[in-house]
Symmetry: C2
Subunit: 281 residues, 2 copies
């Protein structure tokens, strides 16, 4: 199995390359799927792994919606930036932050629910993310492909409506699961050098500039942004040889709506969520 | 290996129980560690798994701080509700949501960073959580124990100071990693029945009340809250046989500061984060 250790030209002792670590370091997102259903028992295994994830104070402040109906998947694909693979894959999981159930428990036991500040939102979002990542590792360990769909948050109100989510349940990420189409394995994507994202004892920016330039060159050579340049109104195109992670990332962050028109809705997320009962005090 | 399938009395086909799925469904948090260092190469393998996690639009909006200095771990233990195991374990990882680096990239390329609304915060928190969960699975696949420390968010300003975090970098979760003390394996914790947290096509509350009562009884029988009753001022203690997940959860959510006095700081998280440059528009 070709892993990130290979991609980065690093040796790893065989006893460190457990099946789990091999699976995770060989991860690549898959954006084209065969129509074949999952093997028998796979969905249950994936969901059991998700349900086994750690959760803050055992609150289990998340829910998963398993979507397999073709029309519903097609509608979710439309709402998520028209990404066709969402409809292609046999299963689409929607991992939600769920404060509704906790409110139900407080009401039932006769206590006002006080913990409704920003931290409670973080707890629910993190619980959903941890469950989702276990699902990813489980699916990939079974030879299946996955792709997260953050654009499930483009139009939260419409997604809540389609999935019947009650007040205070928010879709955090979608996850397509299925057999990868053979042409859907572009290879591992290089990541920022470890010295950029990993710090010893204290946050450090030593050597940051050199490391970013090294990564930028690597991404250009890797051809990752070839033909995918974000064009900003009033800004000239950049030669492909100079368009790497730095310029692509900055352009996305300066005009998110150029990349995906529906993404402009994300700027209104807080208003939508407050209307749906979330509090961010 | 005893897994959640066993705990729930369910059969699983051997080909579904990959090493990864076995590792994840055997997860239990460990709150006492031996002082032994990690085996050679383990930290690198764990961090490479973390760096291989999926990330929204390849933004990699997270950072990890690796803490091994005894004094720093001891101080972090104090700041996180005095949980002794944080100082015990040889390694404490702090997974942070990192918008600072993205601002640096925008400044460097000469664009204003527009994407600063609530969704950008969610992206960074989720990136940090996905990396953290890969680290958990990697560590546990190597036979190590782990425990998340959400109380790293009790006093964010002090933690930022201790770890030298720049503006717009927020600790999301701590993670202790080390060899579990032999007495630190309490067994798998039951989770809410799948029909509560997993929904088909649309959110459903059918059978919720019965399922919650079933879980409540299971947690009482499991003895999970034995001697751990949250006492609320003005509320009488409940017999142990009636104190389960429902009452414990409701009490925590109605008076979070009774459980952990420092947790009252969490109610001020938004103010602290805004002072540190985060925006939640």
């Amino acid at each position: 199995m070709y892993t990130r250790f290979d991609l980065e030209g690093r040796k790893v002792a065989p006893e460190m390359l457990t099946d789990s670590i091999a699976t995770m370091t060989a991860h690549q997102s898959v954006r084209a799927f065969l129509p074949d259903p999952l093997p028998a028992g796979a969905l249950d295994a994936i969901l059991t792994a998700a349900r086994s994830s750690p959760t803050s104070s055992n609150l289990q402040a998340y829910s998963v919606i398993v979507v397999t109906e073709p029309e519903r998947k097609a509608r979710l694909a439309e709402l998520s930036g028209r990404q066709r693979f969402i409809a292609e894959a046999p299963v689409f999981l929607v991992f939600c932050a769920d404060q509704w159930r906790l409110q139900y428990v407080c009401d039932r036991q006769g206590y006002p629910m006080v913990a409704q500040y920003l931290d409670a939102f973080v707890i629910a979002v993190v619980d959903a993310a941890l469950a989702a990542q276990n699902a990813v590792v489980a699916a990939e360990s079974l030879g299946l492909g996955t792709c997260y769909v953050g654009s499930i948050r483009n139009d939260i109100a419409a997604v809540c409506n389609l999935l019947g989510l009650p007040q205070r349940v928010m879709p955090v990420t979608g996850l397509s699961v299925g057999y990868a189409a053979p042409w859907a394995r572009p290879g591992l994507k290089p990541r920022l050098p470890a010295r950029v994202t990993v710090h010893r004892e204290r946050y450090s920016t030593e050597g940051l500039e050199e490391a970013l330039l090294e990564y930028d060159r690597e991404m250009v050579e890797h051809g990752h942004y070839s033909g995918r340049q974000v064009s900003l109104p009033g800004t000239a195109p950049v030669p492909e040889s100079e368009y790497g992670w730095l310029e692509h990332t900055a352009r996305r962050l300066t005009q998110p709506e150029v990349v995906a028109p529906s993404a402009s809705l994300r700027a209104q997320m807080r208003t939508v969520l407050e209307r749906r009962g979330f509090q961010f005090d």
